[in-house]
Symmetry: C2
């Protein structure tokens, strides 16, 4: 079997996840991890994974079939994705929803210059959740979409707590409200406020002698992050945080309720949900599946920017069309 | 906006559902229903729907963009789909899983003769459930698939009961076993027997004076239908059946549990479920969405047989790529 040669740019949670996921796909092999840090300072999941400095990445244009970008959406990907789409077929997980159109356009222009494929904004949201919203909306054109996130760790909200004076460490969970889920599933088409959809739980390690009341108040009133939610703050020790809150679980629900029938009298409900013990490992697994599709598109001579909406599902699989029809249809 | 002109071949539950669904899609219009029965004997959902005899169908090759076939998988579609794929772009819901490969080949050969597109075996299973099995399997290559059906009416099992001597009418429900669902979701990877996955409930109207004990025994021991299940039989009146069991609800669950991580220590779970008040209306809504994709493929000059695995999801939508990226990604 031909091996799809994967390169990883950036070695954070996503980069590690991609390293792990490639190992689970026998039709792929890992060329190496490329990092801006000193390569010798990097400890990979598997000791045999080669680590190079990003400065040498362009030496590998002939050795890498698909480059998977593990950088962040704030500053890394807006610069890296268009840049490397000129040299490689790429996959990224750009997840700033409001800026996807401009990111798409930048990657599309760059990729087309040199006949490359750039699949952007994949993972689970954007990614699988987007795909489910699209499918459900096309099947039930008269209906309503609901997306809930959690229970899971929000990295951004955890960081926001850590920046408060007197906070040593923190972990924040976003939790969907059961009553809201029930109402949506029952087809009641509720109009839900931010507060009615999710609650937030914060586990906080305070510095010795810090004013806990002031910290709690600063958290629950923080605009944009917590003020619009019912937020509960628990003070715990660093030991407890490390023991009970080490993982990065996440997940969520995409639900579409709609109506069919001559009088719109028939209720139909489509629900997709994820329960993930590791958010980054799952996201990376999606990126790797889409790398396979990118490789196939590239071999067919297609190019430009793509999203999950553009990819025939069969392209994600190493199996032939005949195998898929026989085994899965 | 250009209108996609839909024809319907066959006017059973699926044909009616397609008639209803076309009305919910503003970019489509209905050319008419084609039936083997006497057109004047057909009462359509909407009085303005034209009804023609199938003998005149070939007069409409220039007026129909996509022909949706509402026939059954046992005898209608194996003959009709290849036959009409020579004259029209078609969509069918052929659902005999084991015979899909040969049906695909027959439609592929026929459609290619005259440069048509034949999208086969869509609906929800095969169809959406197949798509979810494919996506989940590609994301989590190391894992296990589970499909549960129900709670819903099984037409074939209801028919089997009606054929028993002394039975006037019957309705059978397939119900997933809660404990099995719980175990699967918990990642316990159970090996489930037929009996452990689903139970069957039968509502039976017996003829006056019929031997109910004999009927019940004939049902629960019926090989291939009920013998392998825990089956409960309730005798009710025709009035009760008509009042409480008139609908054709169905649904089900596709669950994949898998592992990621260096030691396969991380558990991930993907779940897709449908809760449908009308099985045929939902199936028809899927057929109509795929008719849009077929129309687009045809305009691009593609041809041959296709399945849900081959269709870029964006092709199901009337929206542009830019709209989809902005609104749904």
């Amino acid at each position: 079997m031909e091996s799809i040669r994967i390169g990883i740019l950036g070695y954070g949670n996503i980069g590690r996840g991609v390293e792990l996921a490639v190992r689970q796909n026998p039709d792929m092999s890992l060329v190496g991890v490329f990092t801006r840090r000193k390569p010798e300072r990097i400890t990979t999941c598997f000791p045999e994974t080669p680590v190079y400095h990003t400065d040498s990445l362009l030496d590998f244009t002939q050795n890498i079939d698909v480059l998977i970008l593990g950088g962040g959406s704030a500053t890394d990907l807006p610069e890296q994705s268009p840049r490397y789409a000129r040299q490689f077929h790429i996959v990224d997980s750009f997840d700033t929803h409001s800026r996807i159109p401009e990111h798409f356009d930048a990657c599309d222009a760059a990729a087309k210059e040199t006949s490359h494929v750039a699949l952007i904004s994949t993972g689970w949201d954007p990614g699988m959740f987007s795909l489910q919203r699209l499918l459900a909306g096309c099947i039930l054109p008269e209906g309503q979409d609901y997306t809930f996130w959690g229970k899971g760790v929000s990295q951004g909200h955890s960081d926001a707590i850590r920046r408060i004076d007197g906070v040593v460490d923190a972990r924040q969970y976003t939790i969907p409200v059961e009553e809201a889920l029930r109402s949506v599933r029952a087809g009641e088409n509720p109009t839900l406020t931010t507060r009615q959809k999710h609650t937030r739980e914060c586990y906080v390690v305070a510095a010795e002698g810090a004013d806990r009341e002031r910290i709690e108040n600063q958290i629950v009133t923080m605009p944009g992050y917590f003020a619009d939610y019912d937020t509960t703050v628990y003070f715990i020790t660093q030991e407890e945080l490390d023991r009970d809150h080490r993982g990065i679980p996440h997940g969520g629900f995409v639900i579409r309720t709609g109506v069919t029938g001559a009088e719109r009298e028939t209720r139909q409900c489509i629900e997709y949900s994820l329960h993930l013990d590791s958010n980054p490992e799952f996201t990376s697994s999606v990126l790797v599946a889409y790398a396979r599709a990118v490789h196939r598109l590239a071999r067919e001579g297609q190019w430009g920017a793509k999203t999950v909406f553009d990819i025939p599902p069969a392209y994600l699989s190493p199996k032939t069309g005949a195998q898929l029809r026989q085994q899965l249809l």
